[in-house]
């Protein structure tokens, strides 16, 4: 009696786990339930496309890239676009080695020869926002002041027109694209960053740290800056905003790139994705995500 029961139980468990596996693998194949507007009348190219496109790299582009991939896969049901998030460095390296057909980078390619053989195509501009605590209403910071703060020459807010309090410098970790973009734009070497600066390993962690510390200063992607948590500081007298990024008056910005191997032809699916990112529809998604479209 007991034996039969346990046998049945075992059978049920196996059945459940098999069913569980089934639904799981069903979920990973990207088949969005809501059909996009043009899916009912697929374009001839879209109907022919199939296969997988391996991409990877910068984590800074995550928000916009996942949105782009989602829409592209909805339009092209047979295509799967993978996106491994492991940083611009790996994106560049793995595109050179051929592991990725398309790489993602949030920084320019180095010109020292170590990253030759790639073509970087910009598709979006991202502003870097300097953020401080909600209670800190510093009027503006110049590049020189930011350089001073981040290299430890300026240690008190009163030296830059604020109240008398020591500055808590918050920075990103070694290797972060935002960190290298920030130091390059402001004009100091990454090695010069104050060694006692608090290090956080993500945009969210920087924002949280700054939102809790009345004397802290940090830098994050403009698209991630949440003004209900932190204040953004005008850079060289210009407040960060989409308009200021678009007309070029706000200088603290970087570009997001798609990387391809120079001179090689992409697979039809990869080419279609590349074209989609730069198409009107793709660029609309870029601007919906708080970035400045390139076209």
């Amino acid at each position: 009696m007991k034996k039969t029961f346990s046998l049945i139980l075992a059978a049920v468990l196996v059945a459940i786990s098999v069913a569980g596996c089934g639904t799981k693998s069903g979920n990973t194949t990207p088949t969005p339930s809501s059909a996009p507007t043009d899916a009912s009348t697929p374009t001839p190219t879209a109907a022919n496309l199939s296969g997988g496109v391996k991409t990877g790299g910068s984590t800074s582009v995550e928000k916009v890239m996942t949105a782009l991939i989602y829409q592209f896969q909805a339009d092209n049901r047979e295509v799967t676009v993978d996106y491994e998030m492991n940083g611009s460095g790996d994106g560049i390296k793995n595109t050179i080695s051929g592991l990725y057909e398309l790489g993602h980078s949030s920084r320019e390619l180095k010109s020292d020869g170590s990253e030759d053989g790639l073509t970087a195509t910009a598709y979006a501009i991202d502003g870097i926002a300097v953020v401080v605590h909600k209670d800190n209403s510093i009027a503006t910071l110049t590049a020189a002041q930011l350089r001073g703060i981040y290299t430890g020459e300026i240690t008190n807010w009163k030296e830059v027109g604020g109240s008398d309090a020591l500055i808590t410098v918050v920075t990103r970790e070694e290797g972060s694209g935002t960190r290298s973009a920030f130091s390059e734009l402001i004009g100091f070497k990454e090695a010069e960053i104050l060694t006692s600066a608090t290090v956080q390993d993500s945009t969210g962690a920087v924002q949280t740290t700054v939102s809790q510390n009345p004397n802290a200063i940090g830098y994050i992607s403009f698209s991630d800056a949440d003004t209900s948590k932190v204040n953004t500081v005008p850079y060289e007298g210009v407040a960060v905003s989409e308009a200021a990024l678009k007309d070029g008056s706000y200088k603290l910005k970087r570009e997001f790139y798609l990387l391809t191997k120079t001179g090689s032809t992409l697979s039809p699916a990869a080419q279609a994705f590349f074209d989609f990112v730069l198409s009107a529809e793709g660029q609309k998604i870029v601007s919906e995500k708080g970035l400045l479209p390139i076209r």
Binding site: G87, L166, T168, E174, S196, T198, V199, N213
Partner: protein
């Protein structure tokens, strides 16, 4: 009645089953051995690369961590880890032992049961929760101290120590309590019969007799403290500088996840090297624990 049951019936199948099961158990047992051996070899090989590159002394005793400039000195992180762990154990040990004495000897039954349930719960809380509460409540609470000391507000070694104290307390309490409980009642009764007070009997007789168990709890707590990454990463500020109580520090454990995502080449090898150093730390602590247990066993004989 022809159906006689005998312990000899089906002897052959039984012994076959026994043998097969033996093999299965052996394989299961070997699985853990193999994984430890594999991990050791893997860590030594991948972590050894950076040490071969920079040399043992420049890696372990270097003051500057600047991967961009190919400087991989992890002394600040080693010292930070050691100090945070030492500080946490020094605070948690007396507190934990006193709580264990209370639970084992002094508290009324129901209260002890309830308290034990809470302590077990404390041990089961995911470390990220500790980190979250630490970052939201503990770190701002230390701001005033930092301002008084003329330092900028930030995460600090002190915050890491406080978080670790809370995290290792359950381990120290439960191991110490078990040790105290296992001391024969007669010891205490003899002391009482000789005219000592209840507390004298506990602290002069029972606790010393439970010494080896308490030390084992301490070593286990040390192991947990030195291996903790998530919670300390969220409260310590992660600056790779020489440790000071009220300044941000980066512990060995936090150093790996914080830079892992974007690291490559020598930088990644250096992170493996940090892993190897941690691995060695944990091995030493384990050996220490075995030694303590062995001594404790010999004492009981």
């Amino acid at each position: 009645m022809t159906n006689k049951t005998s312990i000899l019936s089906g002897r052959r199948t039984k012994s076959l089953v026994e043998r097969i099961m033996n093999i299965i158990f052996l394989v299961c047992g070997l699985a853990s051995v193999v994984s430890v051996v594999f991990m050791t070899v893997y860590m030594v090989v991948s972590g050894g690369a950076i040490i071969a590159e920079t040399g043992v002394f420049r890696f372990l005793l270097g003051h500057v961590w600047n991967p961009g400039g190919s400087e991989f000195g992890i002394l600040p992180m080693i010292l930070s880890s050691v100090l945070a762990t030492l500080g946490a154990v020094l605070i948690a040990l007396p507190v934990g032992v006193l709580i264990a004495v209370f639970l084992a000897k002094l508290s009324p039954g129901k209260l002890a049961t309830a308290m034990r349930a809470f302590i077990d719960l404390l041990a089961g809380i995911p470390s990220v929760i500790y980190g979250l509460l630490g970052a939201l409540l503990l770190v701002p609470a230390i701001f005033k101290l930092q301002a008084a000391a003329g330092l900028p507000n930030s995460g600090s070694l002190l915050a890491a120590i406080v978080i670790l104290v809370i995290m290792i307390l359950p381990t120290i309490i439960s191991v110490s309590e078990t040790a105290i409980r296992s001391v024969p009642k007669q010891y205490e009764e003899a002391a009482l019969a000789l005219g000592s007070t209840r507390l004298q009997a506990i602290f002069k007789v029972t606790v010393p007799a439970a010494k080896s168990g308490i030390v084992a709890g301490m070593v286990l707590g040390t192991g947990r403290a030195i291996g903790e990454a998530m919670a300390v990463m969220m409260v310590s500020g992660n600056a790779a500088i020489m440790p000071e109580l009220l300044r941000p520090v980066r512990l060995l454990t936090a150093a790996i996840p914080i830079e892992w995502a974007y690291s490559s080449g020598l930088h990644r090898q250096a992170l493996y090297g940090i892993g190897l150093v941690l691995f060695v730390f944990i091995m030493v602590i384990n050996l220490l624990l075995r030694q303590v247990m062995k001594k404790g066993g010999a004492q009981d004989e």
